[in-house]
């Protein structure tokens, strides 16, 4: 039995300053080391307090996964000590507010909810692109960086990296997760579906919307598995001010079959940022739980057995890209329009889970606010939106796969790049304009997008409008 940790103690060169959390599984200490200026926190599993194999393996998993994660949505890994000595993980200390503290304020106003949900979905998507599924998302594992809207994910002890061995896979007979948040497939020991994290996000949003947990806090395996056949009370039945779109998003995240949820966290973030674009289904209007007859049928059929697990988080993301089609309604010729449509269709048809966002830029003056109404008295924004929908009609895509956006900005390229950044777009398709006269003064939008976009860009160009013109210096 080791002596309890005390402030002032030195562990592997780190000086313990003060304890900030003492739980059943671990202790968190603020620590310092002379050569590191960033604030640090040391996490120590409680292996000495009785022998808890779950705590040890979770610690092993976190020690393996945290060092390979990077970016603003995870704490930076600094050092680790294994079980031979005092086991610990040292990471960047991030000052901020735990999402857990917001539960007390539930129900939250829906604009705040959408912002929180979008931020958490951004963080999940970032981690998913790094091959990791969190598998224990809950309010206490989400931190908002002080003074920002950036969500940081903590506690990767139950996570899975699709290129590293899953140390938890055959370890325990019991489902691994946190009871209120665990996805139905996790109760069946499926640990390789990134959509399990979307379920947990749905539970979190449900809780923040209604002040209640959709599945309670069951303490038995049978209780956990109830969510395989019993649907939750629809949020609007508990909170009359919950809009239809929010219920649509929440209940879609809570679908029992992962295939009926969103495909990616990026899609959830996108929906929450564009509520007016959400295709409302019967989910959004539900006011009560399913009848017992329906539940009994589901139970008998054993929905569980139909669950189809995915293989790799990263590959799933590649199959479900968000494609942004940037259209210049004023400039695109019929021919170029046809080519743009053909390119878009190639990409969408190759990936049946992909989404298309059609966007056009409505230029506003840099100096004065533009009049919202044109000379003929028409609302310009609406006019553009109608034109955009008309343009995209010929793609003949199902409504739930396409959204429309009129971006009002003085700089078209910057607006497109910004939209791509804030909506986790995977691929931009844009037409290269043939007429160079205008471009000579304005600069090529497509080349600026290519240079600055955070993702892949396909530039569609009419034959014969090639490089000679394109290489003209922009003024």
């Amino acid at each position: 039995m080791n002596a309890p940790n005390e402030s002032g103690m030195l562990i592997d060169g780190f000086r313990l300053k003060r304890i900030i959390h003492r739980g059943n599984m671990s202790e968190l200490w603020i620590v310092t080391r002379g050569d590191i200026s960033m604030p640090l926190v040391m996490k120590m599993p409680m292996v000495t307090r009785g022998y808890d194999p779950a705590a040890i393996v979770a610690f092993e998993v976190e020690q393996m996964i945290l060092p390979v994660l990077s970016g603003i949505h995870v704490p930076r890994f600094v050092a680790a000590g294994d079980l031979a000595g005092q086991p610990h993980i040292v990471m960047e200390f991030i000052p901020g507010i735990s999402l857990r503290t917001r539960l007390a304020d539930a129900p939250l106003p829906c604009a705040q909810l959408a912002a929180i949900g979008g931020a958490v979905a951004d963080a999940l998507h970032d981690v998913h692109t790094q091959h990791v599924i969190h598998l224990d998302l809950k309010p206490s594992s989400v931190l908002f960086r002080e003074g920002t809207q950036q969500a940081v994910l903590l506690d990767f002890g139950l996570s899975r990296h699709d290129r590293l061995p899953d140390l938890l896979s055959e370890e325990f007979d019991l489902p691994i997760g946190t009871a209120p948040y665990i996805a139905p497939e996790q109760t069946l020991h499926i640990r390789n579906d990134l959509r399990s994290d979307l379920f947990a996000l749905g539970v979190t949003l449900y809780h923040l919307t209604t002040g209640e947990r959709p599945y309670g806090n069951p303490t038995t395996v049978l209780g956990l598995r109830r969510r395989l056949y019993r649907d939750p009370v629809p949020p609007r039945a508990l909170n009359a001010s919950c809009p239809a779109w929010l219920q649509e998003v929440i209940l879609r995240c809570l679908e029992v079959n992962p295939a009926e949820r969103y495909d990616t966290a990026a899609q959830v973030a996108f929906a929450l940022r564009h509520p007016d674009q959400i295709e409302l289904t019967a989910r959004s209007e539900r006011r009560s739980r399913d009848s017992l007859y329906k539940v009994a049928r589901r139970w008998v059929r054993g929905v569980a057995t139909e669950l189809d697990a995915q293989q790799s988080a990263r590959e799933d993301l590649l199959r479900a890209p968000i494609v942004l089609l940037a259209i210049d309604l004023a400039q695109e010729s019929d021919q170029l329009s046809d080519m743009l449509r053909a390119s878009v269709l190639q990409l969408l048809n190759a990936n049946p889970k992909s989404r298309l966002a059609c966007a056009t830029v409505l230029k506003t003056s840099r100096i004065a606010m533009d009049a919202e109404v044109d000379a003929a008295g028409q609302n310009l924004h609406l006019k553009h939106l109608i034109a955009l929908r008309h343009w995209a009609q010929r793609l003949a895509m199902p409504a739930q796969r396409v959204t429309y956006h009129v971006l009002e900005a003085p700089d078209a390229a910057a607006a497109i790049v910004h939209f791509a950044q804030s909506n986790l777009v995977d691929h931009i398709i844009i037409g290269a304009r043939g007429s160079s006269k205008l471009r000579r003064y304005l600069g090529s939008v497509s080349s600026q997008v290519v240079a600055e976009a955070p993702c892949s860009v396909t530039v569609v160009r009419l034959p014969g409008h090639g490089s000679a013109e394109e290489s003209m210096p922009d003024c």
Binding site: P53, E60, D82, E171
Partner: protein, 251 residues
């Protein structure tokens, strides 16, 4: 220190050269040859020379069943193609080569690591580690935390927790996998010179003793040259060279 793990070279000069070059560029300071240095391939003398040179400079090698068959006699149970290759190989080697092969130990343990060709429970019986069951048997037969072996030509990684539960994992080339000290590991880097899974690539792995991270590699090499030499030598064209698929096609 980074240790390159090279198993089942099977006298494939082109594949071995590709691995050694890659390992040197990746900072390997030590090379451990996990048996089956010869057998099947057309360049036994060159390959044994190469291994001997490395061993003289401080690297290490263990004995494989094909190496044993060359210096003793091919067991009756060995496949006909393999037996023919053994006879041919013996004729290509000098007494110096044969002496070197004879001197190879069946196992080698250094600090916490066991090197062996087939398995730890009966190193000279040449049984394969094909699943978690055999991996468990092998891991329980050694006190070492890390076992590196070959014999099975496809890359694999097994880990055992303190309750002796074993799980298997299919490694992805190029990913550094931290082999935590909280459990025991058995790693098969895959065959350098004779792939059997249809991917015509040379496999090896690099173990970093400082971080205890293991990285598997799958390298392109001139397998057509290796095939041409094998055919020219009158050797049975082996399984590795039958597949039309190229390295990387699997994913």
């Amino acid at each position: 220190m980074k240790i390159a793990l090279l198993a089942d070279i099977h006298a494939n000069r082109e594949a071995l050269a590709a691995c050694l070059q890659h390992a040197q560029a990746a900072g390997a300071e030590r090379f451990v040859f996990l048996g089956d240095i010869v057998g099947y391939g057309a360049d036994p003398a060159w390959v044994v020379d190469c291994v001997m040179e490395h061993v003289q400079r401080g690297s290490a090698a263990v004995l494989g069943n094909h190496d044993a068959a060359v210096v003793h006699a091919a067991p009756a149970t060995m496949a006909r193609a393999a037996r023919e290759a053994i006879e041919w190989t013996r004729a290509q080697l000098t007494p110096r080569h044969l002496g070197f092969l004879t001197s190879l130990p069946a196992t080698l343990s250094e600090s916490d690591v066991l090197y062996v060709h087939a398995n730890a429970w009966a190193p000279r019986a040449w049984e394969y580690v094909l699943s978690s069951t055999e991996a468990r048997q092998s891991l329980l037969a050694t006190p070492c935390a890390y076992t590196f072996c070959g014999h099975v030509h496809e890359p694999a990684l097994y880990h055992m927790n303190r309750n002796a539960q074993v799980s298997g994992f299919l490694p992805v080339p190029g990913t550094a996998i931290p082999l935590g000290r909280q459990r025991r590991w058995l790693a098969i880097p895959g065959s350098v010179g004779q792939p059997r899974d249809g991917v015509l690539a040379a496999r090896y792995a690099l173990f970093d003793t400082a971080s205890t991270a293991l990285t598997y590699f799958e390298l392109p090499y001139d397998y057509q040259a290796a095939l041409a030499k094998t055919l020219a030598a009158g050797l049975p064209p082996n399984i590795m060279l039958k597949s039309p698929r190229l390295a990387g096609d699997r994913r």
